[in-house]
């Protein structure tokens, strides 16, 4: 075999493969089936979590196939690439045929084809074909833009059509799919997605990226002026609000409140309210009560600083706190830990759950009862910070796809034929039509046109 024709043969076969709808079906079904995997196996967790779950052997197999980040794996991307090539080749392949249909100035109509349709309407009228023509043409024009009148052996035919261009609808859809893929690609190459926690009052110019964990410098600074939560009466949160200030070269250029669903966009960078947290308290108001005398003293203290307990009862220091504290199977919530140094005797560990002021009273049963009155609440705001220059492309893909689907599914190419022929002194009329979709709708449309003609 000649080598040259061999390779031409090969590329021809490859072209045919990529132009085929069969490949589309295989690729679409593969995408559907493989996508399931990533919804069952949680994605992008830390390796230790997976090792725990699956053991070493299974873990190594799964990670060879990038199962833990499967939507960005080479094979999933290859499927998407295949879909793209498929669409482009297929559209190119078919475009000339479509263009032939679309570019015709005078479409050809074949009366006998219309005569052979099963659902045509027929009736007679006592007027002459020429008279009827004058009445019918306006009726046809009402809903068909293109029309043409042809003489026949014993009468005439009115041909009309509309919506030929809707045959290009699928190309619009396919184009939009390609736009989405391109937009996604732009986003993944030139964009980033990260997060940052900013304590109230602090300023940052660095965020941390999700996928690599690396820092990303912004070319401006963000200060969190304030963070605030509102609650419904039921206790459920109703709003998370951060007041942010953007600083450029030390000067504040803009201050804005952001809440969930209402982000701040600045210089192509989007800043979203994503979560929040409480900062470790620094000032705590404690209450010291002498059981014998019943006298209480309040004192504001700082974490980590030892101080004399009022009333000469020794010394005390708050060592730290936990957000939840487990005591005999009960979660006591936010709890401070302290160390008491009595005037005589050894160190005592003291547990101070904020929500249970009587805890120390009951548990230690000491002369000195300590409880937490209050502490300073300060928060950090958790922001998601993203940049995605592909969004505009993706959004135009969205709009084009919706338009394309609408045209393809719900607007049809309709052709109409009204044949008027002399039969004796009367005229015989036939109304028939075709549509490339919603044939039922076309049927009732033909009936309606026939009815308005036979009136």
């Amino acid at each position: 075999m000649n080598k040259k024709t061999g390779s031409a043969d090969f590329s021809g076969r490859l072209w045919k493969l990529f132009a085929s709808v069969r490949l589309t079906i295989i690729v679409l079904l593969s995408l559907a089936v493989t996508s399931i995997v990533g919804t069952i196996i949680p994605q992008n967790k830390r390796p230790e979590a997976y090792l725990n779950e699956y053991g070493e052997f299974l873990y190594s197999i799964l990670s060879v196939f990038d199962i833990f980040d499967m939507y960005h794996s080479w094979w999933f991307q290859a499927l998407l690439l295949m879909l793209t090539v498929n669409i482009v080749v297929c559209s190119t392949h078919r475009f000339s045929a479509l263009w032939k249909i679309l570019s015709i100035k005078n479409p050809s109509f074949n009366v006998s084809k219309f005569r052979n349709l099963s659902n045509k309407e027929e009736f007679t009228d006592s007027r002459s074909p020429e008279d009827l023509k004058r009445i019918y043409v306006p009726i046809v024009s009402r809903s068909f833009r293109y029309r043409r009148i042809e003489e026949t052996d014993n009468g005439l035919c009115i041909f009309a059509e509309k919506g030929r261009w809707t045959r290009a609808g699928v190309y619009v859809i396919h184009f939009s799919v390609v736009l989405l893929l391109i937009g996604g690609l732009i986003g993944s190459i030139f964009g980033f997605k990260g997060f940052v926690n900013i304590p109230e009052g602090k300023t940052i110019d660095n965020i941390r990226l999700y996928n690599t964990g690396k820092a990303q410098k912004l070319n401006f600074k963000i200060r969190c002026d304030n963070f605030n939560i509102k609650f419904y009466d039921s206790g459920a949160p109703s709003e998370y609000r951060s007041t942010l200030t953007i600083l450029e070269q030390g000067k504040s250029v803009l201050t804005r409140n952001i809440i969930v669903n209402h982000p701040l966009r600045y210089k192509g960078i989007n800043i979203f309210q994503s979560n929040y947290g409480e900062l470790p308290p620094r000032e705590i108001a404690l209450n010291f009560k002498n059981r014998a005398t019943g006298i209480s003293h309040k004192k504001k203290v700082s974490v980590g600083q030892q101080f004399d307990i009022p009333g000469d009862m020794g010394q005390f220091v708050i060592k730290g706190h936990r957000d939840s504290y487990n005591f005999r199977g009960h979660n006591l919530g936010k709890t401070f830990m302290g160390i008491l140094t009595p005037n005589n005797g050894s160190l005592v560990h003291v547990i101070l759950p904020v929500r249970f002021p009587f805890f120390d009273d009951r548990i230690r049963n000491d002369d000195l009862i300590i409880s937490v009155e209050d502490y300073d609440h300060s928060y950090y705001t958790g922001l998601q910070v993203t940049r995605d220059p592909g969004v505009l492309v993706v959004y135009s893909g969205f709009v084009i796809m919706i338009i394309g689907c609408f045209i393809t599914f719900f607007v049809s190419h309709q052709r109409l034929c009204v044949e008027i022929s002399k039969s004796g002194k009367k005229s015989r009329i036939m109304v028939a039509g075709t549509a490339n979709k919603n044939k039922l709708g076309m049927q009732s449309r033909i009936k309606k046109i026939a009815k308005s003609m036979s009136k």
Partner: protein, 277 residues
């Protein structure tokens, strides 16, 4: 009467309509079918009233929002969309056998909402993530899409029953609509569903982008809606190949609807952003 009570009553009206459609089909009688149509219309009207009343009630509670914010409300709306689309199909195709398969789906949706102990019918305030105008657009379009697929599923079932029983032209299967009509109707409903699912996914993506800064993050619910979309895209293309008419299309439509159901219910078993749904 509050909206939950009204909707419980509507549940039984849907049940009655479904029962009469089935009776009309099995005994091949015209009369129960005609009554069924009127009862189905009453059910849809009651369903509409229930949704409207719930909307008003939420404003009376001072937490006004469209009743599309949790499982209960979405199921009620799902039943409504199935009911409305079915009635349109019945009017267009002048056939009530589809009702014997479609109205039970509406009934099951609203019955699950009203009767399941796992689903609360309390009107709750919106959590911050749901406070967006995109919520309504997203939920409404998704559920119109789901309802289109639900009816396509019903028609596909009829198609398969019919094909299996073509030899014995007696009994239940003798008066099924023509296979060509069923195939066409499946296609019509799938295209309706596909358009609205597409818009649903897109509004969801736009919302996600405005709420947390990325239009697509492969969260399980998103991914499952995409899987569903792929299945129906496969179906649309498969129709263009010879040998894929009828039966295979019916199977794909059934698989597609199972994917819809998993997107709707199954995903709540998996972790992800949508788990409040």
């Amino acid at each position: 009467m509050n909206s939950s009570n009204l909707l419980s009553v509507v549940t039984f009206i849907y049940g009655l309509a479904a029962f009469l459609y089935i009776v009309s089909w099995i005994f091949n009688k015209e009369m129960p079918g005609r009554i069924a149509t009127w009862i189905a219309i009453i059910a849809v009207v009651g369903n509409t009233g229930g949704i409207a009343l719930r909307w008003i009630e939420s404003y009376r509670l001072g937490i006004g929002h469209a009743p599309l914010s949790n499982m209960y409300e979405s199921l009620v709306f799902f039943a409504w969309t199935i009911g409305v689309i079915y009635l349109v199909v019945e009017q267009t195709y002048k056939n009530r056998i589809i009702g014997a398969f479609a109205t039970p789906l509406a009934f099951m949706a609203i019955a699950y909402a009203s009767l399941s102990p796992n689903i609360s019918d309390r009107i709750q305030p919106l959590i911050p993530a749901l406070k967006s105008n995109w919520l309504i657009a997203h939920v409404v379009t998704c559920f119109i899409g789901y309802a289109g697929f639900a009816i396509a599923f019903a028609v596909s079932l009829i198609y398969l029953f019919r094909q299996r029983k073509t030899e014995s032209k007696t009994g239940l299967f003798s008066h099924f609509p023509d296979a060509g009509i069923l195939d066409e109707l499946t296609y019509q409903m799938v295209t309706l569903g596909f358009l609205f699912l597409t818009v649903g996914i897109i509004t969801g993506a736009v919302w996600a982008n405005s709420a947390w800064g990325s239009y697509w993050s492969w969260d399980p619910k998103e991914t499952w809606s995409l899987i569903t979309w792929f299945v129906y895209a496969t179906l649309l293309h498969a129709r263009m190949m010879r040998g894929w008419e009828g039966k295979k299309i019916a199977y794909l439509s059934i698989i597609g609807f199972l994917a819809v159901m998993f997107t709707y219910f199954g995903v709540n078993l998996l972790p992800g952003l949508h788990s409040y749904g």
